[in-house]
Amino acid sequence: MEPIIHLKDVSMVYGCNGTRTTALGGISFDILPGEFVVITGESGSGKSTLLTILGGLQVPTGGAVRIGVADLSALPADGLADFRRETIGFVFQAYHLLPYLTARENVMVPMSLERVSPREKVERADALLASVGLAGKEDRLPSQLSGGESQRVAIARALVHDPPVLMADEPTGNLDSATGEQILDLFSEWNGRGKTVLMVTHNKANLSRATRFIRLRDGQVEEDRMLQSPPAEPVAV
């Protein structure tokens, strides 16, 4: 099977005032479609940097990154934006909902650039909110939602374009364990539909849902282990 994500000698070096910090020191691995990969590591191990590179939010200083057929190193800024919109769903630890928009409107934000009728946008947003268990809360502002509900809205927003890859940075970091489990259930459900999930986390409890485990240390892959088989019918890019 062709990998959906291919990394070869990817390095990331930050430089500031003559000081150079190596966040990633030339790592390589492939991820197959439908895998649920949990990436862990200590603070400063480079896991968040890796996630932003995989998500097309920044370009590595060295190496090659290919997701599907897209060579991220070669894409211009607008090409990366299109790539993020069409291929990647992002979920952040702090949700990062726009506070002045309702749950429905937050889910509709990525659709702002689409030439789709407002009615269709609303229907899609409401359907996604219902799928993450927020039916009836579409008109609530983020300030009127609990942490778990806010993260569900963020997940719905990430899934709005039905991306083949979902990336999450500590998605349960701000939630209690019960709510965190519910969020992980959503990721598992999504993964169960053949989508690829990459999740950065400190929490080893999250490993129970993963099919693969990658541990980073000082910008290198310290451990890369298969935990279980991915779903039968993975979705490619």
Binding site: Q58, D78, P110, M111
Partner: protein
């Protein structure tokens, strides 16, 4: 949800910032519209007043100064007119190309006549034109003259011992005194003013005219053109513009306009800078939000567009509000500036609204470009 709605929602959330952003434009446009409206109306008022002040072109027969002498003894000189003016020339003056710029053509005939044993200068002009030709005269009695009636200058009235309602006699003919001028300090004080037909009859010069006073409407006055056209119509006449009056009209109006434009430009510049500073500050504050938008696939152009729409909404509303306020202020303040009949002048308001919107959008360009060029990495570091 689209970019316009996203921009609108963000404005509603940050009302105080939006108000502050729009405040500069609002003040600038309100000031511009108010000053422009007032100066425009003052222009008209000054124009009316100056036009009412009287004539600005004098048409007289061309004359030549002839020196008289005998040997080395100078005997003074005299003016020899090449031609004479007549009442028919009024029609010629009134039919020049720029005839629409001519408010009035008033013929005058001057002659010296013995009145009740006193030799006085008579000034003849159409009886109905007295008020228009000499608006500054203050008359005790009636200003409009009928045939057979006269106005007496203050000194002439004192000399003759006559007042309104009395009669003065010239030869066998009597003239009723319709009014007496209050002292003007000019030659009119010693004159008798009568209908031109009566003066022509007294001078035994039917149809004769000593000079014409022409009042041209002088907004952007092409007075040189009017003078040239009258010269062409009356080749034997000397046509001279009272340039000082014309120039002072232009200068007064231009000064007002320059003052208005100067003040408005300064206020608008400050307004533009306020937009730039507040929107730039907003971009700094919203780095995280911009990062989220970039993460979900907003292109640079979309971020630029979002900032543009936000500033566009603010600029549009503050410009319209400023234009409306400017009109209202100008209307209410008109009496303070001596405008007797205030009116609503829409052209500065339309220009102001468009200028305010443009200024706001121009002011938004640097911060919008900064927001658009913000790399997702830079923004995402704050996430």
């Amino acid at each position: 949800m689209n970019i316009r709605k996203l921009a609108w929602k963000n404005l509603l959330r940050r009302k105080s910032r939006a108000v502050f952003t729009g405040l500069g434009i609002f003040l600038g446009i309100a000031t511009f519209v108010a000053i422009s409206s007032i100066t425009s109306q003052m222009e008209g008022a000054v124009q009316d007043q100056l036009d009412r002040f009287g004539a600005n072109i004098v048409v007289s027969p061309r004359a030549e100064q002839v020196s008289l002498g005998f040997g080395n003894i100078a005997l003074g000189g005299t003016e020899v007119a090449h031609s004479r003016l007549t009442m028919e020339d009024k029609g010629r003056i009134a039919s020049i190309h720029h005839k629409d710029r001519i408010r009035s053509v008033v013929p005058f005939l001057m002659t010296a006549v013995d009145v009740s044993g006193k030799n006085l200068v008579w000034m003849g002009l159409p009886g109905t034109d007295v008020a228009g030709a000499r608006p500054w005269w203050k008359i005790q009695g009636r200003a409009e003259l009928q045939p057979g009636e006269v106005l007496l200058g203050a000194e002439a009235a004192a000399l003759l011992g006559k007042g309104p309602g009395r009669t003065v006699t010239v030869g066998s003919r009597s003239y009723r005194v319709a009014g007496v001028l209050q002292p003007t300090g000019e030659k009119e004080d010693g004159m008798v003013v009568a209908d031109i037909a009566d003066v022509q009859a007294l001078a035994k010069k039917p149809g004769a005219v000593t000079y014409f006073e022409v009042a041209a409407l002088c907004k952007d006055c092409p007075v040189e053109d009017i003078v040239a056209q009258i010269r062409q119509a009356l080749p034997g006449a000397r046509v001279s513009a009272i340039r000082q009056v014309v120039e002072s009209r232009k200068a007064a109006v231009d000064q007002l306009r320059r003052l208005g434009l100067g003040v408005s430009a300064i206020v608008l510049l400050i307004g533009g800078l306020m937009v730039l500073v507040t929107v730039m500050g907003g971009v700094q504050e919203r780095t995280r939000e911009i990062g989220v938008l970039r993460a979900v696939g907003f292109r640079k152009r979309s971020i630029f567009s979002l900032l543009f729409w936000e500033t566009g909404w603010v600029s549009l509303f503050s410009s319209l509000l400023g234009a409306g306020t400017g009109i209202a202020v100008a209307y209410l303040a008109s009496p303070v500036f001596g405008i007797e009949h205030p009116s609503v002048v829409f052209s500065p308001a339309i220009f102001g609204a468009v200028a305010g919107l443009s200024l706001g959008l121009i002011g938004a360009i640097p911060p919008a470009r900064r927001a658009a060029s913000l790399s997702p990495t830079e923004a995402i570091r704050t996430l």
